[in-house]
């Protein structure tokens, strides 16, 4: 079914592109001034009639196959009723109708031949055909990914401009090849109108190529999402294959362009031979880019690299994102780099002086030096990689997942890695290896590979057979929290009682706010809307503070803060225990408290009354602990909230893209 769709879409796209290009070249050639051009034009018009018929037929095939896919059963492709609904009830169906309406009008235009002997009639006829074909082509861009993700017209415009560029360049090649071949059959010099058309097309193709470059880069930026996506996914490999075929096609184009001056040379035989050669080159180029169209169609049918799990093919990778406290920058200024720079600088001067007359040697040596320098200089940034290094976690980073991971860790991992022990003064004690700086570098995909396959040479068993995939991902969420907790208690990135402006890195695990039998909401729902003051309290010690919070809630609400209180144990009596003088009006969690406590206590060990100030983007910005800093005071909390409100640029959202 999918192969059928691929074939039909490829053929349809190719016909639309060829129709647009054919009329573009006819317009470029101008009103036919002699018999030769007139005969060529009739040829191209005959082709165009066939293109239109095949476009309509393949379009119908595309619609029926898509109906089968929409409904999920192949028989639906042949049911008129199902096809009718697919066409009318969906946006792709509506666009199909509009485009094929245009194609039908174009076909009618082509088959009902009118009188084009007068120049203005000729321009009207060819121009109208070009406009209809181009419209039918660019509207394909309206049913693309860029159109699906946003309501505004500008992202669709990228796809549309790209299609127009492709239509002009790719579609124009076959008629042009035919023109030059016909011109070369003359015993005399090639027809001057043919030469003029070739020159005009050359210029137009350059502009079309620039348009394609710009819109393509914009599109790639939005869809591929990085080196891992490019080399590790089917979508990325198809893109690289297209790139390779296109390079070949463009080399042919460059060669043709280089032959242009010879075309208009006074020697008849020479320019005739050139014309024939150019015709062959252009025809081959056309063949290659039609293959490119096929690869492009295949790409539309694979999951885009941005949303796929890439399989990393090499044993190493370069790290460029890291926790701010790891002294990468210090390592960068270490000795080897300085030496490399100094030595390279001196060598460059020497080489330039010696080989200043031989550009190739110069460029070659410089290139070798740069590569060498990069290899040495990037050493600290190169880390071990595995096939799953760039895979993203399918489970969101939630308190429940962390608590589950903690349980799995205790059962399976603590025996070798040790139990992280809470140290009230300075955060968790070190579990074997897991808080070391090497572990910080590892992506979640790295950890998943190591847990699944173990490290036999270091004595770690493989857990792929002992733990389900979900359990392994829970442990990884726990390890993420463990790693971050190591940094938040002490050191330069410490999270204390004072908010550091523009410094957000500790993402708050999502939690479910379940108050009695009311519908639960989650911390995620408040993201982008309100700040959250998460209060881990226990009665009777927190009684005074809870009374103060109840009184202060109105002011805090106005400042944009939601207060969420969670006692350590799940209990339906929690609200009753807080009493009603004054009445407590903020949410008090009564279900799932153990998970919230387990997860958040990693950032503030112990059992003392603790409050976390979480900003609107979902980062923990301040932590108050009654045993360290004393019970938080109302004015202090308010002051920090005002600091957050005053931040100019909000931090980027923490990544929770899951599948």
């Amino acid at each position: 079914m999918t192969t059928l769709l691929f074939g039909a879409q490829w053929v349809h796209l190719a016909q639309c592109v060829l129709l647009t290009g054919a009329f573009f070249v006819l317009l470029l050639a101008g009103w036919p001034a002699n018999d030769f051009i007139r005969r060529w034009e009739q040829h191209v018009l005959c082709w165009a009639r066939w293109f239109a018929i095949v476009a309509l037929a393949s379009g119908a095939a595309v619609l029926s196959v898509q109906t089968g896919l929409f409904e999920g059963r192949p028989e639906a492709a042949l049911e008129p009723r199902a096809i009718w609904y697919a066409m009318l009830d969906t946006r792709p169906g509506f666009l199909w109708m509009v485009r094929h309406g245009l194609l039908i009008v174009l076909a009618a235009f082509l088959f009902l031949s009118g009188d084009v002997s007068a120049r203005q009639n000729w321009i009207a006829a060819r121009g109208e055909a070009f406009v209809l074909a181009a419209l039918a082509l660019v509207l394909i861009g309206s049913s693309g990914h860029l159109a699906a993700t946003s309501e505004s017209l500008w992202p669709q415009a990228i796809d549309m401009v790209h299609l127009l560029g492709a239509g002009i360049w790719v579609g124009g090649l076959p008629p042009l090849a035919l023109l030059l071949y016909g011109a070369s059959q003359n015993a005399a010099a090639p027809d001057p109108y043919a030469v003029r058309t070739m020159q005009r097309f050359s210029r137009a193709a350059l502009i079309a190529a620039l348009i394609l470059a710009g819109s393509g880069i914009a599109s790639a930026w939005l869809l591929v999402g990085g080196a891992a996506g490019l080399v590790g996914t089917t979508h990325g490999w198809l893109l690289l294959a297209k790139f390779a075929v296109l390079v070949l096609a463009l080399l042919l184009a460059a060669a043709s362009r280089a032959m242009m001056p010879t075309l208009s040379s006074p020697t008849a035989a020479k320019s005739s031979a050139t014309a024939r050669r150019m015709a062959w080159f252009i025809a081959s180029e056309a063949g290659l880019v039609l293959v490119v169209l096929g690869l492009a169609t295949a790409m539309t049918m694979t999951r885009p690299a941005l949303h796929d799990d890439p399989v990393w093919p090499w044993p190493v990778r370069i790290v460029h994102d890291f926790l701010p406290t790891v002294p990468l920058l210090q390592r960068l200024t270490q000795l080897p780099i300085a030496y490399v720079l100094a030595v390279s600088g001196l060598t460059i001067f020497a080489v330039v002086f010696l080989v200043r007359r031989r550009p190739i040697l110069l460029f070659g040596t410089l290139f070798a030096l740069v590569v060498n320098g990069a290899a040495i200089g990037l050493q600290p940034l190169i880390v071990q990689a595995y096939p799953t290094s760039f895979v993203r976690s399918p489970l969101s980073y939630t308190a429940g997942s962390i608590a589950e991971g903690m349980a799995v860790y205790q059962a399976h991992c603590a025996s070798c890695h040790g139990t992280p022990t809470p140290d009230p003064a300075g955060g968790w004690g070190s579990a074997v290896d897991l808080l070391a700086s090497e572990t910080i570098w590892r992506s979640v995909g790295d950890l998943f590979w190591l847990i699944t396959h173990g490290r036999p040479n270091l004595g770690m068993a493989e857990f792929g057979s002992r733990l389900q995939e979900a359990q392994r991902w829970h442990v990884i969420n726990f390890l993420r929290a463990l790693g971050m907790s190591g940094f938040c208690a002490s050191g330069p990135s410490r999270i204390g009682a004072v908010v550091k402006p523009d410094y957000a890195w500790l993402s708050a695990p999502d939690l479910t706010i379940s108050v009695g039998p009311l519908t639960p909401t989650s911390l995620r729902d408040l993201r982008g809307k309100r700040m959250v003051l998460l209060v881990l309290y226990s009665l009777p010690d927190s009684r005074a503070r809870m009374t103060e919070l109840a009184r202060q809630y109105g002011t805090l609400s106005v400042l944009g803060v939601e207060v969420v209180a969670a006692p350590p144990q799940s209990s339906p009596e929690a609200i009753a225990e807080l009493g009603q003088s004054p009445p407590v009006l903020f949410p008090v969690v009564t279900n799932g408290n153990e998970e919230i406590t387990a997860a958040y206590r990693m950032f503030a060990p112990g059992t003392a009354h603790t409050e976390f100030l979480i900003d609107r983007q979902g980062y923990i910005r301040a932590i108050w602990r009654s045993d360290l800093t004393g019970m938080p005071r109302a004015d202090v909390v308010q002051a920090q909230v005002e600091r957050l409100n005053g931040e100019k640029s909000p931090p980027p959202l923490p990544d929770d893209h899951v599948h």
């Binding site: 896919l69 463009l250 492009a296 790409m299 949303h307």
Partner: protein
């Protein structure tokens, strides 16, 4: 317009990059779900909400929830939210303790079908 000889190679390479990328149409993926994927809940949820990365076609997007015997436990009213075309929802009957699977199949507005499933438990 003349391109200097030595710049032709890189220029054409740059231009070559491009047409490849066009029409990389995409599919709608599940961004997050309520109840969350693989979660354990103390109280049974009254509805499932699935948030996707792309706008959905209401006519061809459905979700169903089965218990561990395969019986359907949603009220067969799955629909795309009228105010948010990225949200697919369905209400549920009262759920007992046990494991449930959520099976979804959606059509995004660029004409691509994606489907998937995940489970959650009620304890």
């Amino acid at each position: 317009m003349r391109i200097p000889t030595c710049a032709r190679g890189p220029f054409f390479a740059l231009v070559a990059w491009v047409p490849g990328v066009v029409l990389a149409l995409a599919h709608s993926e599940l961004q997050r779900a309520e109840p969350p994927v693989e979660s354990k809940l103390k109280r049974p949820p009254s509805e499932v909400k699935l948030y996707f990365t792309e706008r959905l076609e209401p006519a061809y997007s459905t979700v169903r929830v089965n218990d561990d015997h395969g019986a359907q436990v949603d009220r067969q009213d799955s629909h795309v939210d009228s105010s948010n075309p990225l949200l697919l929802r369905a209400t549920l009957q009262l759920l007992e303790h046990g494991a449930y699977s959520v099976i979804w199949r959606v059509l995004s507005v660029d004409g691509k079908v994606t489907e998937g499933r995940f489970t959650f438990r009620v304890e």
